[in-house]
Amino acid sequence: MTGKGRGPRVGSTLAEALDAAGAGHRRAVARAVGLRADAAAEQIAAAVMSPAGIADRLAALEPAALETLAFGALTHGVVAIDHRGHRSGFPDPSPTILSLAAGGLLCSTRTHHQTMHQIHPELGRPLRVALFDKAATIALTADLEGPEGLRWVTAPEQSLHDAAALSARLAAGGIQVKADGELYAKAVPKLVEALPALGVRLDPPASALRLDLTLELLRDGGFVRCRSEDRPGASKRQELVTTGDLHARLRSRDDDLTGLVAAVAMRRIGVEIAWDLADVLRQRGPGCEMALAAFAAGCEPLALSVDRSLRQLPTEVVAQLILAPVWLAGRCAFGVDDDGVISAVRFGALEPPCEIDPGPVALLQSSFELVLRRAPMPAERLALEQLSEGNAGQEHVRRLTRASVTAAARSMRSSGADPLRALTELCGEVPQNVGRTLEDWVAAVKPPARLRSAMFVELPDELTADRAAAQLGDAVVERLGSLRLAVDADAIGTLTKRLAAAGIELEAGIDRISGVRRERASLVDGRAARAWAPREPADWDTGLTPLNGTIVGILGAVTPAPEPVTSRPSQAVIELDLGGGPSDFDDFAMLFDSTDDLEDLHYVLEEVCGESAPVSVRYAAADGAQVIELVPTRVADGRVHGVDARTRRPVALWLTSILEVAA
């Protein structure tokens, strides 16, 4: 559901936005930042974004305004949305919004039915830096020391270790998913069990978070896909299986993978706070460490501004909650006591992952046992877990079994890797009996039989087949032996003509040797496959929402409205992927447009059916394109059924007539 950029954005710089907001608005901001009223937009923008200026204005804000601003800065930038009333038009902005806009900290954009107040993307970074500086100062001056004698536990590359372990688990056997790609509840503990044990006791436990992060990492790295069983009469089972060559990527330790780990972690609301705060703290001095309570004191106001539900949790639990992904990404260390309970955090220099070759990770005995000599690196973990089986309680011993080696051979086949070579890399020396046995086990793994369907032309001899292949060109999709050419079933007309042109006589009719199978639309809908398709890199962008719509000035002539009128956007709205760039529909939350396919539309409408909320639908009517505010109730018979939000009448629209849907 990414937004579709189709032209230059309006107000892509803060100066442009100020310009577009009108003279009244611009003059008010200029005065608020200490410039002359007629200052140029560029001058005003520079003053707004200067670190000293931002710090001054943050210091001057009321707590409610500061919280609102922090919410926007740490999420997607949108701090409030005013909807047009049926008769009353747009309400006036609240005093909080006006005070933020006056400081140049907010821009407002308007579509035909709403006004959105948001932080300009260009202002996002300096604003966050200022917020984190303030939080870091609180944390560092909290004067809370951690207990003595702590053990510092780092998790260098823990996310990659988790990815390796989960990938090995999926390689051993796929995990079935629901039609929409979601995991079945019963599959979750199985996958959690596959994750390596941690040396700390996170509160709350991080298993669900680790599973989510890891699956996203595998998905977006292209290391997992959803496989559908679409044979006629089959169960339509859909399952997650491995794909790509994670081992090679882990071994090369490439920066893209590290970047992906960060990007995935940063998608969690609130993580960015800990992440950036950690960066700020790290810059404050080497070996920066503090009691968990001190860190909590610094980050809590920011965290609560993002998610008010966190108020119900103890402060240190909140700190652990948002630090967990940071720790899992190897960017901080936890200080734990003998029971593994966390009471401090360190942001300073952490032990880097071992870069030199530290020798074989395991000893392989002729009893087929692998004994680990040191902690494995992520690539080694993947190979170890693919090739061998572990036992509960045996952290240092694994065993090669026929089942594990066979599964590894199947899994490695796609990347051309060889289990015996992988084992030699892990252990250095492979006992003769183990090597021979592995060769036999691997040799017994044959490629699976494949059910294929083809239309092919059967030629009388090899020479004619060669001539036909040359003549048919791209209509031939595969040569099946010396006398058969598999051809594009949609190109029979072309094929007939080309064969005739080549003087090759084609017998009338089609010889259906397997009988006739009617090709129908796939009964397996594409939702699961889409859910597990890698996200485009653009989705990793955690920046603020670009401006979308017409920029309006809200300062000057308006009368401040009472506070309650302006509604803070709900969490659900904020979590929507707010598309960027103007669309034909002129809305910020495009759910579907005519460039998507019908399956997308089906999916989108089913999703919104459960929400009892109106969506704007533009559809092709007899007298041209029309827009309707529709509360969808169900999708059936090729139509979406629902209620017209204005008239309260039941409505049904053919799916094929729908051009766009927006939230």
């Binding site: 003998d338 029971d339 000893l363 005995q365 002729s366 009893s367 087929f368 046992e369 004994v371 000599r373 036992n391 509960a392 309680g393 045996q394 952290e395 240092h396 011993v397 026929r402 006992p431 003769q432 009996n433 021979r436 046995t437 036999d440 017994a444």
Partner: protein, 556 residues
Amino acid sequence: MSGPAIVQSDRTVLLEVAHERFAEARETVGRFAELEKSPEHIHTYRISDVSLWNAAASGMDAAQIVDALTDLSRYDVPSSVLADVRDLCARYGRLRLCDGEGGLLHLATDEPALLAEVLRAPAVAALIRGRPAAGWATLDPTARGPLKQELIALGWPVEDVASYEAGAALEISLREDLEVRGYQRDATAAFNESGAGVIVLPCGSGKTVVGLSVIADAAMETLIVTSNAASVAQWRSELLRKTTIAPEAIGEYTAQRKQLRPVTITTYQMLTHRARRDGPFPHLDVFDRRDWGLVIYDEVHLLPAPVFRATARIQARRRLGLTATLIREDRQEPMVFTLVGPKRYDTAWRELEEAGYIATAECTEVRIPLPAATRHAYAAAEDRERMALASANPAKGAVVRTILDRHPGAHALVIGTAVGHLRAVARDLGAPLITGKTGRPERERLYDAFRAGELAVLCVSKVANFALDLPSANLAIQLSGSFGSRQEEAQRLGRLLRPKAGDNRAWFYSLVSHETVEQDYAHRRQLFLAEQGYRYTILAPDELESLPRFRLAEAA
């Protein structure tokens, strides 16, 4: 890297053989953990409840064990392991089994609440006579074994300080010219300290001598239960050769003879024989028909269920179990430890080999493709028929000849489970064959001829799997086996391990049909030996030709 040990949370302790502190670590860890595996690089010990209680019984306390683990461990010792050590050691000695009045026993403790707790268990309460007093309860001597079993199951080991029955006296001592090896003396001493337990020593290392030493030290009437008639004869012969016992004091309780004498030798089959499948066991009362002071269970891993029950009744008698392979495919090893007694002595096979007490054995698996015709039959066969087809691979006969050809002068056993195929190979080789149908006199004649060097090749079915002493055998060719039996594989290798003259070497070949279920079973069969440090070399038949020729005539 520092310590030689890695402690895992399942309470296994891995010791790195190449580490400079290995010997020290082995000595220390062996006091509170049982050796489980000893392959080439890493030995595995297991800290079990029983091993901790044995350590506690020998005077070691939890703090010493914790210190030892912490000192030897390379990484942090899992806190759960340390907690278990402290908890389990603290349980030992809080319940005591001691002599009461009138031949009865007392279960005693200083903690009345603990007594009340264990007596809440119905199985324990059922064994108690009368009303328990504060701090002690009374039981019959026959309940001694079952009570110990039940209390161990509850996690409360009982310190058994009640006396054993003296048993009738026996005039016996070891002959003065008998040389008892150091490990045999250690094993005897370890047993004598407690009076009940199991000694685990490799095949061919002289377990019988340990048994004789124990009999001589106890000087009490003894019942010896062993695996088969040939073994009965061997025990008799060893008693006569190595001790001063009078021949008329030795009796055999077998199908042929029903003699009950001061030292009586019988078999598990005899004790568990019954006329009808659901009838009583008429010979089990042998345990009670004399005043035995000692019962020896040879090949204790074979202990059948009815003998378990009989053994539970005789807990007041000294009990010695002897075995090389305390593995049971039915996973009943803990029952052996509970009823006969815990493992008292164990040693790694390779250590005795290095010291020259047993022969150095080279193990080879030869993977032989099925001939084309058999291959097709195998491919089309049902699962249950496949093992039979693979076992009887006709191409194995030629490989047997090749192996014999590579070992001129060898004294070879050709061992198989598929008797039809074994018979064909024996016929082809012109070698005699012993199966279950071969009469006892004929068997003894052939074994004697083989021992005397008059027969170079002897084909045997699985009747020769256990307790058969053929010191001259230095080459074994295993044609087929009982599926994945690790014990059978080890016992068959064991036939070769008696020390040899010359360079003390022996060769064990296992012939396996390539790419068949037999290969999978062979993998499992070899597991026990691999865990003892034996490395199999895997060869194809044509690679045998490149092996050097081992001339064994002089050695044999």
